[in-house]
Symmetry: C2
Subunit: 406 residues, 2 copies
């Protein structure tokens, strides 16, 4: 068709003038030699195949072979010549040597973690000092940009409008007499799903007295870490520190060495809580009236049973000393959840507590979750295990569970 917009066209080869009528594609032709890979690959095998298909015995043999291959990923391996299978065994024996070296690597990483724990320690002490009001930070120590500053100004305006009512609702609002950062650890625990599920209403007044959480690393004998929960003097128990000790192992499992993916938590020990009289929230009494079916008389019996509580975290189920003894499924699930919680506190909460208090650490996790879900249909919530040489979800992959024992 002729140009209608009146613009000059350069010769008759203007692209609008041309209609593409055919396309031919050939690969690997960066020179004068033309090669068509597709064609050379398909002709001969097809001919061979149809030739073979004419033999009923070949068909039967193929079906038998296919049957044995279905669901068997090693079908290909089984079909290999014996000499090759023998060499694969040599490679596996070498691989086992690699696994032992890998176990040593993870031990050294743990050693590094122990070393770095001492470098973080002074900063965590400073944190405790600010949280518990034993030290007021200087202006210089508080120089940190706040992204929320504009939001805060806006919020302040709103607040001014409703000032009188505010005061009634929250008497602590802008009360400069507040000491430290109240309910610092309780707020963190309530912000993290895995932990908030453990916390009952009766635990909260106790956890308000929690002043610090520390992770103490042990390089060996045994390799592991201890979580310390430091409490201020309180009306509930006399302990100043509650502890939970985790023992780890960085050795390939002899029965399945190639599943080794780094150290795993193998054991944990709680501690005895010295509850003050009538303050033990981990037990409750159940009164039952019983009626004698024959005589019709009734009596009341009192039973003490376990009560849901965060503090059950300090009395985990025992692991049988004898490794051969099978644990029941419930105990196994409870321990797997416990190990995950212990690891999470050590690896995420303790090192970045303030970010769990403000929710920033949760936002980062959520961002990852949401984007992950779009593409993969769901990720473990609240926690990215990616940076974590110690964490082995293949060993303790249960979803965080409530620390309930019923």
């Amino acid at each position: 068709m002729a140009d209608t917009d009146g613009k000059p066209t350069e010769g008759v080869e203007g692209s609008e003038e041309l209609e593409e009528v055919e396309e031919e594609t050939s690969e690997g032709t960066d020179s004068e030699e033309e090669v068509n890979h597709e064609k050379s690959n398909t002709t001969t095998p097809e001919a061979l195949a149809s030739q073979l298909m004419m033999s009923p015995s070949v068909l039967a043999a193929m079906q038998e072979r296919l049957g044995s291959l279905v669901g068997s990923p090693s079908g290909y391996i089984q079909s290999l010549p014996k000499a090759v299978k023998r060499r694969l065994k040599a490679l596996k024996k070498q691989q086992f040597e690699c696994t032992k070296i890998e176990a040593d690597f993870y031990k050294e990483v743990h050693k590094l973690e122990c070393k770095y724990a001492t470098l973080y320690a002074p900063l965590f002490e400073k944190r405790k000092a600010v949280v518990t009001a034993s030290q007021e930070p200087t202006d210089e120590e508080c120089e940190w940009p706040s992204e929320d500053e504009k939001d805060e100004e806006l919020a302040d305006e709103v607040k001014n409008k409703v000032k009188v009512e505010e005061k009634k609702l929250e008497s602590s609002e802008d009360n400069e007499d507040v000491k430290g950062i109240p309910q610092f650890w309780l707020t963190i625990f309530k912000n993290v799903d895995m932990l908030s599920e453990m916390i009952q209403e009766h635990d909260e007044p106790i956890l308000k007295h929690l002043q610090d959480v520390k992770a103490i690393f042990s390089e060996k004998d045994p390799m592991g870490f201890t979580l310390e929960f430091h409490f201020e003097p309180n009306e509930y128990f006399t302990n100043s520190v509650l502890t939970k000790q985790y023992t780890m192992r960085s050795e390939p499992d002899e029965t399945d060495p190639f599943s080794f993916e780094g150290p795993e938590i193998v054991k944990c020990n709680g501690c005895k809580i010295d509850w003050k009289k009538g303050k033990n929230v981990t037990v409750k009494t159940v009164k039952k009236k019983q009626k004698h079916k024959g005589s019709g008389t009734t009596r009341t019996i009192t039973k003490t049973v376990q009560n849901d509580s965060f503090f059950n975290f300090f009395s985990p189920p025992a692991i049988p000393e004898d490794e051969e003894t099978e644990m029941d499924e419930d105990t196994e699930a409870l321990l797997a959840a416990d190990f995950e919680i212990g690891h999470f506190i050590r690896e995420r909460i303790v090192p970045r507590a303030v970010l769990y208090f403000t929710g920033e650490a949760l936002e980062n996790d959520d961002e990852y979750d949401e984007e992950g879900e779009e593409e993969e249909g769901g990720e473990e919530g609240d926690y990215n295990e990616d940076d974590d040489p110690d964490y082995n979800p293949q060993k303790d992959q249960s979803k965080p569970q409530e620390c309930k024992q019923q």
Copy 2:
């Protein structure tokens, strides 16, 4: 009701005789003092609340506050007294110091990885020797239990039945003249989804010449690693080694320091492949017949365009030197996928190649996937990043993509 089975009962208190008519529960009663936490917690606030609800101005204020809190995780933080907000800034400044220490930790982990790479190296050399038939392992070196031994015996029986046909189908079967482990790396690449998606039919005859894949670690200047693909002399290109270099960074991002989760890959460089004449599978020629719309004459033009190929892995898109320049989404996704593939080859394939050849590494991954899905609704396929101090999916979280450039 009376006993009917004739067994003696101990007194009138046998449990069958009793009917439980009532249950009362109270908590924290391990002593004579009884405390009911629930009741003491609920009475006063409820009364206060209903009192407050009678004031319309209080209601309005609450609604305004609630409105500003919805969708804002920092709503609680905003409601804190100024003195507390100031202390939180101090904690964040301390947290930034922690992040810098963490960056150093990851640098030391990388240093450890460099050290361990030299410990693995002799084993990987032995592997190459067996794979390429430059050394036949001794009987002692092949002593490794095979779980499939029973299966193999069974399979052997089946094979014997169809021996003649077998020979026709697979001429290499039990051929003791086979050298080394044929198609070792090609088989591995085809077993791993992330890599098999990159491999086109025309790549396979080339990848049959791949003899070794190495990861060479660089401690610094720049921190990173280079993947080396060693080829035997072949008809496709003259290079004996193709390389892909990855540069990493272990520094918190200044604009978002708290998102730091360890080193990330920030750059990669491919290499020039010296294709022999007509063998370059990464390009194809497209012939187009063009018809002049006016005159009706046709002509044929030839265009060289990029072709899908594994070997495009060696010519990744360039990253703008200027960090301010935004990449387009496609390039960003392509690079994210490339970084993930490079990391996967270094971290999983190279260290445990034989297990990807036999499929055992895939089985372990699958087991984890399936169990994970039951509880969490899906996990990243084929790869557990948990043991991996270098891998940061928050930075390069795209799903593995085909290495296609169209």
